[in-house]
Symmetry: C2
Subunit: 339 residues, 2 copies
């Protein structure tokens, strides 16, 4: 496979089954011959799905898994015990250097646990944050950490700020990304104990473009490229985004169905609305990378479709080709020396 970017996809656990992974993989290798894919899962099913597709067969490999990790299992236990699950097989391929990146739509907890216990953190990295791209009125922002490390310490948040900054610059092509910390006011002296301790550390960093506090109401308007926060708050932000968007779009539908006049009006704006809806769907932005590990692990939403799989593959390619992992490790060695 030479200089190809090798991506392993765990095909079990997503709401839409293995077919979306297979279709996404086929399209991705057709579009970019420098990508090669390994699919882990039920080999019979995968081979059958692949048989109906036309593609360069050297670009996709199938590895059979005899176990499954369900959403209801205790993540750490499941990852430790189920060595023959599609996720653990994929994790081991990444660990052994047989793949450069891993994508899974399965249990978030199991993906986080596998990342931590099988792949392990890169040198110098204290904690590995989950960092999805979230929709804004402009370009998407990176929300870091959105659930991997609750009650993290200030020095851990500073590392997240640096990782997020490297990611946005290298993978998303944002020049000198603006990093802001989520706070309950715009002024420097506001906040809880964690933010108050973290703020001066961020201010002292010379390798990031720290712009200060961001209030939650500014987040949807893209006022920072890297939206830094502790995992509990980050998870609340991510899920509230989803909840409010769902509520408003639902109410909008209700408003349109309320009268024959409005119904007719709704038909006329349907296209524009669908476009808008797709923009708000956090899941179409390529998934959430778990940063700071020895290999790239990307968690995609459980209900991901073909497009999201393709988008995640593309994100992995950019990540690997731009050596984001190497840059993160290098950044931390330098900053450790500088301490």
């Amino acid at each position: 496979m030479g200089d190809n970017v090798r991506i392993v996809i765990d095909t079990i656990g997503g709401d839409n089954g293995a077919a979306v992974c297979v279709k996404g993989a086929v399209k991705a290798v057709k579009k970019n011959p420098n990508i090669s894919i390994i699919l882990t899962g039920h080999a019979d099913e995968l081979n059958k799905l692949l048989a109906s597709e036309k593609y360069d067969e050297s670009g996709i490999e199938v590895i059979n898994a005899t176990e499954e990790i369900s959403l209801h299992e205790k993540p750490v236990e499941a990852v430790r015990k189920k060595k023959e699950s599609s996720l653990v097989i994929a994790m081991n391929l990444l660990k052994e250097g047989k793949a450069d990146a891993l994508i899974s739509a399965g249990s978030s907890g199991a993906v986080l646990a596998g990342g931590q216990f099988i792949i392990g953190r890169a040198k110098g990295v204290k904690r590995a944050p989950l960092a999805p791209l979230i929709p804004t009125t402009g370009e998407p922002s990176l929300l870091i950490d959105c659930g991997a490390n609750v009650d993290a310490k200030p020095e851990v948040l500073v590392q997240f700020a640096k990782m997020g900054s490297i990611y946005m610059e290298s993978v998303m092509g944002v020049e000198n990304p603006r990093v802001a910390i989520v706070n309950i006011g715009a002024e420097e002296e506001k906040g809880n104990a964690l933010v108050k301790e973290t703020y001066p550390l961020l201010k002292a960093c010379t390798d990031i473009n720290f712009i200060g506090n961001i209030e939650a109401r500014q987040i949807p308007f893209g006022e920072a490229d890297v939206v830094l926060t502790e995992a509990f708050v980050g998870n609340i932000i991510l899920k509230l985004y989803e909840g409010i968007a769902k509520m408003i779009l639902g109410e909008l539908k209700g408003a349109i169905m309320a009268s024959p006049k409005a119904k007719f009006g709704g038909m006329l704006i349907k296209e524009s609305l669908l476009e808008m809806k797709s923009k708000f769907s956090a899941s179409n932005k390529g998934g959430a990378p778990l940063l700071g590990l020895k290999g790239l692990v990307v968690k995609i939403h459980g209900n991901s479709k073909e497009e999201e799989v393709i988008s995640a593959i593309e994100q992995c390619r950019a990540f690997v080709e731009n050596d984001v992992s190497g840059k993160i490790v290098k950044g931390f060695e330098e900053s450790t020396n500088g301490d």
Copy 2:
């Protein structure tokens, strides 16, 4: 004024000036003769505004203030020094029992500081939370605490749960209100250290209807009547609500203006959309009471209009007539005895 509910309104500091307070006050006393209002602010201006209104003059009194507290002042300092400001005069009226409730659209920080230092907490109350009603697909929910006490301890959150429950039952008429704690998962063992410590304490409370965790994505669907959370997270939730709603409604406008066809469609659904927009406006739900003080202090949004002032007056009336303060104090005496 006899058995009237006496409400003092600080008319300085809101974005829309004293006129909205005057108009709201006039309408409220016309509608309900059992309400009497004191307006603190620039007496000349207030009297001039009142002169053009027809109402029972015994129902509204004006008290002159020679100082103002601006949004940019340090709250605690401003409240301590500016004894002749409209807010401090109003606070003192409440403290001295010359008013039953206070409404202000001015600086949140100053309102919180005044509540704490001038009014003071009721007996048994550890901290006074700010608790706005937030819009959901059903009836509004109470979000408690949304910014008054960051880094609060578990036993403080338990008190907030009880106060919120009493409020929703007595003021909003919700029978046996469902209390849930904001968490990053539905399972009992999830969460940060604060939530993990607070959860069993809530579970052990016999005087509230604790239904467990609520994830942020469920909040907009009204899955709890009292949404309990620490102030930092609560403030993020409140402001993100505002930000995402603003973003989506802005994008919706953009989508409608995008083509002549969509523009025509938009005209047909305009009424339904305006109705929807009003539903999402958190500010029209009567403001945020600061609970657990010796008197009722209600903070309304800086950009409140006449309707919001009326709605806050109505909320104050229900609060006073139902003796919510007394019930809160009683609840805490009982639970303290029970400990």
